[in-house]
Amino acid sequence: MNYFNQTKDKRGVVTLTFDTPEKPVNILCFDALYQLEQILDILQKDSSVKILFIESAKKSIFIAGADIKEIKAFQDEKEIVKTLSRAQAVLSTLGNLPFATVSVIDGACLGGGLELAMACDYRLATNDEHTRLGLVEVSLGIIPGLGGTQRLPKLVGYQKAIELITASKRLKGDKALKLGLVDASVPSGYLSFKKEEFIQDILDGTLADRTTKIRRRVTWYEKIFPLKSIIAQLAKASVIAKTEGHYPAPVKAIEVLEKTLNMPMEEGLKVERETFAPLALSEISKNLIELFFTSEVLKKETFSRAKPRAVKETVVIGTGTMGAGIAWALTNRDIPVRLGARNMKSIVRAFSAIMADFENVKRRGRLTDREIALKMDRVTCTTEMDGLSRSDFVIEAVSEDPKIKQAVYTQLEEHLAEDAIVATNTSSLSVTDLAADTVHPERFVGMHFFNPVAKMPLVEVIAGAKTNAKTIATVVGLTKKLGKTPIKVKECAGFLVNRTLLPYLNEAAKMFEEGESVEHIDKVLKAFGMPMGPFTLADEVGLDIGKKVSDILFESYGERMKPSPLLAQMTEKNWLGKKTGKGFYLHQGKQLTFNTEVQSLQCGKTVLDEQTILDRAILIMVNEASRCLEEKVVANARYLDMAMVMGTGFPAFRGGLLRYADSLGVAEVVRRLSEFETHYSERFRVSGLLLKMLEKKQTFYGNM
């Protein structure tokens, strides 16, 4: 395979164009690097070469990163160190060529791509929207391994380099120029002039002076002992605060930067690759990479062979928290929305909520007031269900009451165009039943968003019995347009995520009833990596909602989902959680303190060991998830894991619920579940799928 095309003009300007054959993107695989090694070897000896440009033949991509499959395939530390050592040497050769080198970055320049670009003397970037530069390795549980930790500080300074690497920041061209990461940032239309200017300045010998002024470089005070480690300590503390210490890669990256700051390049590279190797082999990195692959698969997944309809005008009926959130998501992506509700009061509450979401975006510097105003121009409202005739897509988000929902559909049918799609944002009702009396059940579908819509990336797509393929394709397309991930699930009570999550909450409640403390249980599960403990979550969602959902699941799944009587007791006392200020915790401002009153609902006092708490809460979920797989509620374990990570915040570093089960081993999962079944109740009865897997020695990820 030939990765590079080479041209040379009479001035001695060589242009190497990176063009991975038969792929839409450039990935820096080892093969490409070795080929570069050979090319550089020849160029090095050619005294007629004055300048080397490295460019990309791909539209809107420079180099998207290193080949993750190769990293995932690594088996052995020594092998990694050896491979990296050679790869690092290629970039060092690039860095030490006897003539000037320039990378021309017009598109994504990430990870290994940026490491290559940094090895060049100069970087010429475009400030187009598609140009993004960043060392994003830590998001995959590794650190830069091709000299990124060595070259970045030399351009942007030590402290800034730590910040960019630990946060996996992706910079636009202009920002990269400001930090000194690139030496020019111009519109792509001006790239050819700018390139010519660079050639002139290099030949005249003036470019080096000019660029030195741009680069921030490591300042003298960053190098001295106390400041150097103080900066590192502060950065570490903030990383640990953010990740709860579950992610070692950013911490390791800081350590490498600190340790190697004053070292010569060669020694620094050695530290880098030796730190890289164990991280690349770690479970965490493999898990994160696996999830990354799943997300890539899901990006292409359409869940339907039909072509989606274009969605030009939408309607959101019901302007509560969910309706307002969905309306924001549509508005944010410039899809016109008409809000429908019974009265203006609830409509303007939605307006406020939408503006509050925009305020958050604005605070992060992503949108200006002008842009927000233009988006808001497309939000209209009605209390009469009028002006809907031009809409192609309606999302109904009224309260979870089939009677109210069906009344809305009947009303909608009077006003909607004949071919409009109606999606319900139900979290627990049957889509088929809801569609029963509609005139067009084939264009009726479930579209389950998660709360808060602005932050939660998952949407469960549920086909009713009569929903047609075009409708599914349209919902999937629209969800992606909203920047969210659609996962199609088969219709069943609670769908996938709530059905799997509820046994976890229930089990926590059972442990509490038995006498375990709320704080202890929450602590154990938070330490496991859940974004919040089950009781904090229950308070957040609201006990009344929890009760409603549990009742529905109990009705469908019977004994194993029998809700804890706590829910009813607490709902009765109006201890609904955050919204009433009192639940398992007392909510005063942001402060959470244990609500001692709930102790009266406990049977006794127990102290379980942490492993038991963890296993009871998590393995009961694994068991339910395996039933979902068995019943084909979701296509495969990968999608299920992604749904749990995105829908419930299940820790990504564990790779997802079923990948975690795989790491324990099916035998262990079955053993523990059987133990619990004997000790506690039948609700732990091992699913058919798990038993079958045990028998056939299968794993969730192995038998896909």
Binding site: R338, F351, S352, E359, D377, C381, T383
Partner: protein, 437 residues
């Protein structure tokens, strides 16, 4: 009635959808909405309610008087913000107080000329946002400063500054001053009051009745038929669904207490018997009658004919008499054929003067070269839901509002024909003949 009276018969222009925002007192509810935003909200909602699609429109034509500096050709800004495709052109028209009618008649002329078939027209005005302007001296100082090269030069220039330079020109007042006669609009109303001997009490009573009629229309839900609910503060979630200038508790006593504004010594024109300063927008979707028929649309009503006329700027308030005279001559109709008449209430004195002039043979002989009066107006069909004294007069918008209100009122009463007319600052009058069915 009798269509054969029409002399040069043209096809009628069908108005298929019409909508306005509530009228909000300037400096109040809509104060933080610029005219283009107000227009964007109205025109998007208008289109949402119309059976005509955005992409079917040939051009967007919008009247606006105090064209904001940040939105040159405000019609284009509004069209884009409201969601019209970029390929559809837009034009802002300005005929002062008749801008909201001009947009409609411009479209009519284009339809007659065969330039297009479907037009979206209307008027918008945010009188709250008419800016204050630096006066000439301050502007000169800025210019000098920009030309000063050295720091010393700059200091020297700045030393020429006097506090009086900061006295702004109030854009609203300048806009309401006729530069030819040098009179404020209110002063032209004083001229008419003197010409026709209209007493303060007569004016106040007219104004009192305007509020009474408007209050009744508001209560009956009559205005709700023609206007939308507008969310004016998206952040704190506030909306307006009524016209907030109407004073249900207006009394003759309260009106009598006000001081004359334009002529403090002898004047009779007060803030209470003048139109209010207001923010609002109104719009219509229109096409030719045959085109509407072809599409199977059921129009709200029709524009049958229109006329504009010029007169002495100092007596611009009599514009309706001149324009209506011209309109009747064109169509063969007379005042007797009108079942509803709207004369915009720029000033109570001005409408009363018009009533008198309409009824006067002498006036017709002197000013219109006619033998007989244009025709007295039956007071029971004049401004039946009140007018600008109660609702306000957002200058660029009013013309469209009069069309809306007449069409709805004709339908409401089961009548067929009405006259919408207004006086225009600078000395003009506009008159539209409107019909339903």
């Amino acid at each position: 009635m009798n269509r054969k009276k029409i002399k040069n018969k043209k096809e009628r222009i069908a108005i298929v959808t019409a909508l306005r925002t509530p009228m909000a007192k300037a400096g109040g509810k809509f104060a933080r909405m610029q005219a283009d935003q107000l227009g964007a909200v109205l025109f998007r909602e208008l289109m949402m309610r119309s059976s005509i699609g955005f992409e079917e429109v040939d051009e967007v034509i919008i009247g606006n008087v105090a064209q904001p500096i940040h939105a040159a050709n405000i019609a284009r800004v509004i069209a884009l913000r409201a969601g019209f495709p970029e390929s559809i052109p837009a034009l802002t028209v300005h005929r002062n107080c008749a801008s909201g009618m001009e947009s409609i008649t411009t479209a009519a002329a284009r339809i007659y000329a065969g330039e297009g078939k479907v037009y979206v027209c209307g008027g918008v005005e945010s009188m709250s946002n008419i800016p204050l302007v630096y006066n000439e001296k301050m502007t000169l100082l800025f210019e000098k400063l920009a030309r000063s090269k050295s720091a010393l030069d700059k200091v020297r220039t700045l030393l020429g500054f006097r506090p009086a330079f900061l006295k702004p020109i109030i854009g609203l007042m300048s806009g309401l001053t006729d530069p030819v006669s040098g009179l404020l609009m209110g002063s032209t109303a004083e001229v008419l009051a003197q010409d026709f001997g209209i007493s303060r009490e007569e004016q106040d009573f007219f104004s009192f009745m305007s509020h009474q009629k408007a209050a009744k229309a508001k209560e009956n839900g009559r205005f709700a038929q023609e206007s939308m609910t507008l969310v004016y503060d998206e952040v704190s979630g506030k909306y307006l669904d009524f016209d907030d200038g109407i004073r249900e508790d207006q009394t003759m006593e309260k009106l009598a207490r006000l001081h004359p504004f334009f002529d403090r010594k002898n004047g009779t024109v007060t803030a209470g018997n003048s139109s209010q300063i207001t923010d609002a927008a109104a719009g219509v979707v229109l096409l030719s009658e045959s085109e509407a028929q072809k599409r199977g649309l059921e129009p709200l009503g029709y524009l049958t004919e229109y006329a504009y006329a010029g007169l002495e700027p100092k007596r611009m308030g009599l514009g309706p008499v001149f324009a209506a005279h011209k309109l009747f001559k064109k169509t063969g109709f007379s005042m007797k054929d009108m079942e509803i008449v709207e004369i915009n209430e720029a000033f109570a004195a001005q409408v009363i003067a018009c009533e008198k002039a309409f009824a006067s043979d002498l006036f017709a002989q002197i000013h219109l070269g006619a033998k007989k009066a244009v025709g007295a107006i039956d007071p029971s069909i004049l401004n039946v839901n009140g007018g600008a004294v109660a609702l306000g007069h957002p200058v660029g918008m009013t013309g469209t509002r009069l069309v809306l209100t007449i069409l709805h009122e004709l339908r409401h009463r089961g009548r067929q024909r009405g006259l919408a007319t207004l006086c225009i600052g600078g000395g003009q009058g506009a008159a539209l003949l409107l019909e339903v069915e």
